[in-house]
Symmetry: C2
Amino acid sequence: MLTLIIAESALETIPESLWNHPTIRKLSKTRRRPPSQILLDRSYHHAAMKNLENNEKRGRPDIVHFALLEALGSPLNKEKKLATYVHTLGNVTIQIDNETRLPKNYSRFVNLIEQFFETGRVPPNRNEKPLLMLKKQTLTELIKEEVKPTRLLALSRAGKPQTLEDAISNLAKTDKACVLIGGFPKGHFTKETLELADETVCIDPEMLETSTVVSRTVYEFERALSLPQKRLRQAGGSS
Amino acid sequence: MLTLIIAESALETIPESLWNHPTIRKLSKTRRRPPSQILLDRSYHHAAMKNLENNEKRGRPDIVHFALLEALGSPLNKEKKLATYVHTLGNVTIQIDNETRLPKNYSRFVNLIEQFFETGRVPPNRNEKPLLMLKKQTLTELIKEEVKPTRLLALSRAGKPQTLEDAISNLAKTDKACVLIGGFPKGHFTKETLELADETVCIDPEMLETSTVVSRTVYEFERALSLPQKRLRQAGGSS
């Protein structure tokens, strides 16, 4: 079982300090939504974000979108051996059920998350099984009180150089393995985040996309469990 | 060196038979472009596509978008050991230069491809190095006259069951390796496509997303070249 946390994710609604910026007011009119219900997106709000604190790490819902598609579409997830969380820079946890099928289309994903931030769950109807669940909590609370991994690996260029294969095959030996992957476009995990990890590993000298790291991490975990062989065999293959 | 071809890709402008459909006419007005210059996209044209021949395999630019982001962001591509092509259901080849940085935002990607289909190259200025190049040709022409691989592997659920690791480590022994991955949402490669392949391999009993298969294929090729270790070592790491 692997728990994947996309951490310090660049996913939030437009912060109050930008609500009066001309481009944001115009956008709010076009989209017929108050800025408080619109996701911050550097693709559209680049100019408005200029004076925003820590802005290089913020406003990239596409990173979370791609990363989740890679995680949820994996054989590991289909086997329910993957638990996926997004934790945001604004201390929100999103827990994603294995059976969730997210929209592939970016605008539809953005609409879904905007609705989700309003209602706190998807589907909003409490009689249906929740696919996305929201909690206000710190990353420390998520890890120490909820996930409680027996071993926590952070992937970061600030870590010690090791191949992903070695890092994950080691990690897979533990009972409740957890991997932290950054959900932001630039910079590094904070010191507080890194202190939560049992080890921090650098898998490549250059920065890799979040979705690429998620895809490879999940795949290496599958390999460590011999899942590719098992699934082919179960299907009657002669691998 | 690996050549990756995203084949039978669901990427085309709106076909003439749909130009008079009410939703297409409305869209054309809103976007201020003739339908002939707008990408077919099931996300928006689902109703209009209902009577379109072979419609289950068509109108999914997002599949090509994600797949290309995974290919171009990989260490293999950064090392220029990856050549990436998209071949479409309408017999168009798009050759993508290693240094291309595609927009992460979906709408910007769609705009870029629409402009590209008009001009045949990106950037349109002939004095600048081309990043995307267009050619009208069949998949057979692309493979037999241009790529000329010494071995061609197609990944398809119609193939013989084998792990991706085994398939790619075998393939990497050849000089000019080439992999075909489907760039469509449902169904299988045509018989003509499969006949071009030296072997066809099924890596999982369930359908996997194109971007996932691209990501894993490129990663396995990197592993076959010991690229993860080499890159960490070159950077002064002590893997």
